[in-house]
Amino acid sequence: MPAPRSLADDLRSRDDATLAELLAGRPDLAAPVPGDTASLAARASTRVSAQRAVDRLSTPQLQVLEALVALSGSTADPVALPALVRACSAPRARVLPHVRHLHTLALAWGPDAALRPVRAAADVLGPTPAGLGATLREAHGTRSPARIRDLVEDLGLAGTGDPVGDLDAVAALLADPARLAELLADAPPASRELLDRLTWGPPTGAVPGADRAIRTAEAGSPLEWLLARGLLAAAGPGHVVLPREVAVALRGGAVLARLDDEPPALARTRHSPHVDGAAAGQAAEAVRLVEALLTAWSAAPPPVLRAGGLGVRELKRLGDRLEVDADQAAFWAELARAAGLVADDGEADAAWAPTPASDDWLDLPVPQRWAELAGAWLRTSRVPGLVGEKDARGSARTALSDDLDRTAAAPVRRMVLEALASLDPGEATSETALLDRVRWQAPRRVGALAPRLVAWTLREGAWLGALGLGAVAEHGRALLDQPPADVAEVLRRLLPEPVEQVLLQADLTAIAPGPLVHPVAAELALAADVDSRGGATVYRFTPSSVRRVMDLGRSADDVLAFLRGASATPVPQALEVLVRDVARRHGRLRVGTASSYLRSDDEAALAEVLAARAAAPLRLRRLAPTVAAAQADPATVLDVLRSMGMAPAVEGDDGDVVVRSPTARRTPPRQVPRPVTGEPPTPSAETVTAVVAGLRSGDSEAVRRAQAEADGTGEPPQLTATDPASALAALRDAAAQGRAVWVGMSDAAGRLTVRQYSPVAVDGGLVTALDATSGQVRTMSVHRISGVAPA
């Protein structure tokens, strides 16, 4: 197979499995589905996509890419694998996997003998890959031909009379370690020191008058000694740069000091056999706190601030209610939202209220509930730790507001958990070690917030009960790679078994020495107030709690029978007396609902109405000789009475007693907020296969078209509209390879012309190209180009 001429070419030659790997590794390439390999390559070459891919690289992968970019230079020269291996200061076996990875991800392409980085990837790395400055040709290319001649002379080289040839000669000399060493042997120590400072980057230094013209003879300072010999070049009037080849030579022919392909060790700081227990206890607590939050917000949903989010005062109120500080309160609120349990109800006076999904959640057993919370936590991009900090405008960030999403949050959280899970059970490590590990794993992705994200992950993991005593618990481990049901099962085994009986005591308490089975718990919660929760629940009977259960129609005997059945011990006399006492008083006063009332001092008149058939729809009930209650509104009662020939009078409207049962607020159904990862979702294996198949058919279509075009020789092809990214990529490729392409362009009159061009440079939306027919160089603006096809 001939060597591929472009990334598209390279991709076309890959097998399905490799393409599938690419799409899985860079999900953004598959959404939307690319039509053919050319557009796949074009999309892979955009800066945005390349940046995403580069940001996901680990430290050694990034290092190898930097080395490749540095060797390849701005001219995108192909690099042979042995040279790359040498540049990485590591044996081939250690470098190769990373090269393969870059190749698979289409950040590099070409055969081993001629590897090239994708230009966009090089751009992402910036102008000084691996801390290396511009190449000699670029660094000295800004000099006037006269000064290049001076340099050649000062280096004792024979001039060629041609500036380009002269520059090549200078480059050849300075890039040769042996000859460079010879040259430096005479260098003043201070000059050596200067070079040493720049060798490992950053390669530039600020000096005034960097672009002064200096000859060896007049070089006074150590700096001038280097400038005169071209070992440093001016990078503007105030900066000098160490040319790339010189730096590589000074680095002993390598680009990297070492390849950091060993993940930083996680030093074991602590070991405890109680991790699972402590975390499981906390997990139960987490579920309880979220439940308490839902209860609180169900009864009194806090308002949504006009700018979105939850007010500081409401947050404090929540903290008081949950008996936690504001940081933790913010965490629980965010967690409840991330799990889809609370949402903005969307009313005119918007409030944060439980969602219908929260009712389903409340019906689940504790382990399942935890698994859902923990899953949401692991995925969410929300960072509650930022609550209370000042944003760019100087106002404090509020919980549940829009500016708490951070793309690095979810990856860091997962990395921390994975790092902890890589330790033996019960082992903890230090925050610094975790930070080092996370930074090594994705140096570009974790960003400046990384130290705090790691700290917050540890803090939140402990609150949630995924971590205990600084180590990851068994159920926290399961969270990483197991479905929620399995996570819940792991946790269930760690939590106490439900109990069926309580202990009743003479101090009017009932103690459930473990989680109580549901029917008993529900009934007991009606008859007694909860005093304390945790592994056990302490209930306290008070007159008002007993009254509450009687309000639901239970008699004293019902309550006592229930207690006898639910208790492992006899019912204490004091409790029995309490129940009987309340029962005795219960219902002494009676309250009912009436829509209106009927009052008459004349008992006979009232009796007449009550007896009348026409009044039956009013559902009148006599409360006292002179008073009757009606289950119809006053207007209806008036109408009916008047129709009966009576002359009723209205008695004002404050007799109207309407008892409404309190309503629990719910939002309309709401979607679980999608984590803001900046990434499209990872495509499923099926999707990937389908996309690859689509690419293949797109390619064969393109080949068929190209074939048809080739048959009509020299004729401009029928150009299909190409999207700008593909067009640009095709033009860049053509420029890099010096190939000619057909370019379709609309002229000023709107007519489409198709001509053959050899693009020279593509930059800033402008294409400079040689017109093959006229031999003129033209500069075209990219937006006028409607299509590009290989000539």
Partner: protein, 553 residues
């Protein structure tokens, strides 16, 4: 997961299942740092408080021991957050230390940022002097107590290592003739002495005076004893004469009537807190001698001014005695910082089980208000309500009935309202002792009661404390200071001296049904119910009219 007897709750209470085979071991493990809050029949409740944790630190326990004890005895996983909180709280104690440096008192920090933090507090600034170096700052010796108090409030309790003055030596020995100090009393004395200063918690009737005497015998120095009232002062005096080598001449009484300052001086809180024209004329008593020991009786009643005075006594050993650290005013923290941490504690039922205090039956007798009184009650102003129902005429009949039903028992009728007591006294034909009764008359009546010449005494709240009436075996409470839990405990305590024939004491509370009286009674009883005294409840109509004891329903 173990199958321990302990359940750790998220609100930092610990539930101890009493019948569990290892509950004794668990109790022992958690006792140093957790306060017993309730001790009903099946499950005892302990609470972990910062004060309790610091008490434990003061006694030399570290966070690891506490965490281990919780994990080892806990039946279920202990929430991580709680363990962290325990460790962090304990870690706060002792970061600051009060130390002696020659003659100077120095606050020394093992953690400089903590020192910086507290020095920045406005409350600390006036109490300290010159900064000596990064880690220490000079403290005015007179501010030792205030500083400790402020630091405790700031959450950084200081460890007081500055020691004590020996005081003026005075020979005092226990005179164990015909009696012996009980083992728990000896433990209490030793616990106090090893700790330097602090509080001993013992139930009423468990012999707190002996603990005081034991402490004096250890100190062998001049001692100031602060007690609640004159009668109690006399009792201390006679007890000390009986139990120690001290003679009449060595014990002084400093009360409203006498102002003697002797090697051992017993003073009342009242005389110390008497104010004339804005000054406390008797305050100088505190400096009248070089006291080697200050004993505070009934420390839970210590009035606020005494706290302030006590702040100046930090160089002297201080012993607090009480039946309960529960203060209705919530000043437990001041007791901790100014008198000292709790050094000894024993649940009532434990001591009862050992036979040192008499067992007691508590019975609540419910009466129904007559219709006329019910209407008056229903329409009364809120502040009048308690008085109206507590002094119901129906109670007087029930008291009479109860007393008649138990002839021969030494009986106390205790109440709050003087006219009610007068009425009851008249009905029962029994003497009435109130605040208005002269000290001599009180003494005479108490002596007659002890001797068995009088069987029934009607007393007001003057008899709440420190009156030793060993043979009282029946008490009827008709009214009280609203919902005061410690008053209830004190009143029961009157009955708990072991009886010669080992019989059970009986404590009746007469309560008007369906009124605030019943609500207050429920609140008052909570403490005793929590200590394991189960109240039984009977209806006044079900009381036997004559003959022997009225058994609980």
């Amino acid at each position: 997961m173990t199958d321990g007897p302990l359940i750790v709750q998220s609100d930092k209470t610990l539930l101890l299942e009493v019948d569990h085979p290892t509950s004794a071991a668990a109790r022992k493990a958690i006792a140093p740092f957790a306060e017993l809050e309730r001790a009903p029949e099946h499950v005892h409740t302990y609470r972990i408080t910062p004060l309790g944790l610091w008490n434990a630190r003061a006694a030399g326990h570290d966070a690891e021991q506490v965490v281990d004890a919780l994990i080892e005895h806990s039946r279920y996983p202990v929430p991580h957050a709680l363990l962290v909180d325990v460790a962090e709280t304990m870690d706060r104690y002792g970061r600051l230390r009060l130390e002696k440096d020659g003659d100077r008192l120095v606050l020394h920090a093992t953690d400089v940022p903590v020192l910086e933090e507290v020095l920045r507090s406005k409350k600390v600034a006036p109490l300290v002097g010159e900064r000596l170096d990064r880690e220490s700052v000079l403290v005015h010796p007179s501010e030792r107590g205030n500083l400790k108090q402020v630091l405790l409030k700031l959450g950084w309790p200081a460890e007081d290592l500055a020691g004590y003055v020996d005081g003026e030596a005075h020979p005092i020995e226990l005179d164990e003739d015909g009696w012996a100090i009980r083992p728990y009393q000896q433990q209490a004395v030793d616990g106090f002495w090893d700790g330097g200063s602090g509080v001993v918690v013992l139930p009423c009737g468990a012999g707190k005076t002996i603990v005081g005497a034991g402490a004096m015998a250890k100190a062998k120095a001049t001692t100031l004893v602060l007690v609640t009232n004159t009668v109690s002062a006399r009792q201390w005096r006679s007890e000390l004469l009986k139990r120690t080598s001290l003679t009449e001449d060595e014990i002084g009484e400093y009360t409203g009537s006498k102002k003697e300052v002797r090697p051992v001086t017993i003073a009342t809180y009242q005389v110390l807190t008497t104010r004339r024209k804005g000054v406390y004329p008797h305050l100088e008593l505190l400096d009248a001698r070089d006291w080697g020991l200050v004993v505070y009786d009934e420390v839970h009643l210590l009035p606020a001014p005494i706290f302030r005075m006590t702040a100046d006594l930090q160089a002297r050993r201080r012993l607090g005695l009480t039946a309960t650290l529960v203060r209705e005013d919530g000043r437990e923290g001041e007791v901790f910082s100014l008198i000292g941490p709790k050094r000894f504690d024993a649940p009532w039922k434990d001591i009862e089980a050992q036979g040192w205090i008499a067992p007691a039956d508590c019975v609540e007798v419910r009466v129904t208000l007559p219709d006329g009184e019910r209407l008056a009650y229903a329409t009364a102003e809120p502040e009048e309500k308690y008085r109206l129902c507590a002094t119901s005429s129906s109670k007087t009949r029930v008291v009479e009935q109860l007393v008649r039903a138990n002839p021969g028992e030494q009986t106390l009728v205790i109440g709050q309202y003087l006219d009610q007591l007068a009425e009851i006294g008249e009905h029962l034909d029994a003497p009435v002792i109130t605040g208005e009764t002269s000290v001599a008359e009180r003494q005479r009546l108490f002596d007659a009661f002890r001797a068995g010449d009088i069987h029934v005494l009607v007393v007001s709240k003057v008899a709440n404390f420190s009156i030793d009436l060993p043979e009282a075996s029946l008490a009827v409470q008709v009214s009280g200071s609203f919902g005061s839990r410690q008053e209830e405990a004190q009143r029961l305590g009157r009955l708990l001296r072991p009886k010669a024939d080992g019989r059970t004491a009986r404590f009746y509370t007469v309560v008007a049904r369906d009124t605030v009286d019943a609500d207050f009674a429920a609140h008052r009883q909570r403490f005793l119910a929590e200590q394991g005294y189960a109240y039984s409840i009977v209806d006044a109509d079900d009381l036997p009219h004559a003959g022997s004891a009225a058994a609980g329903a």
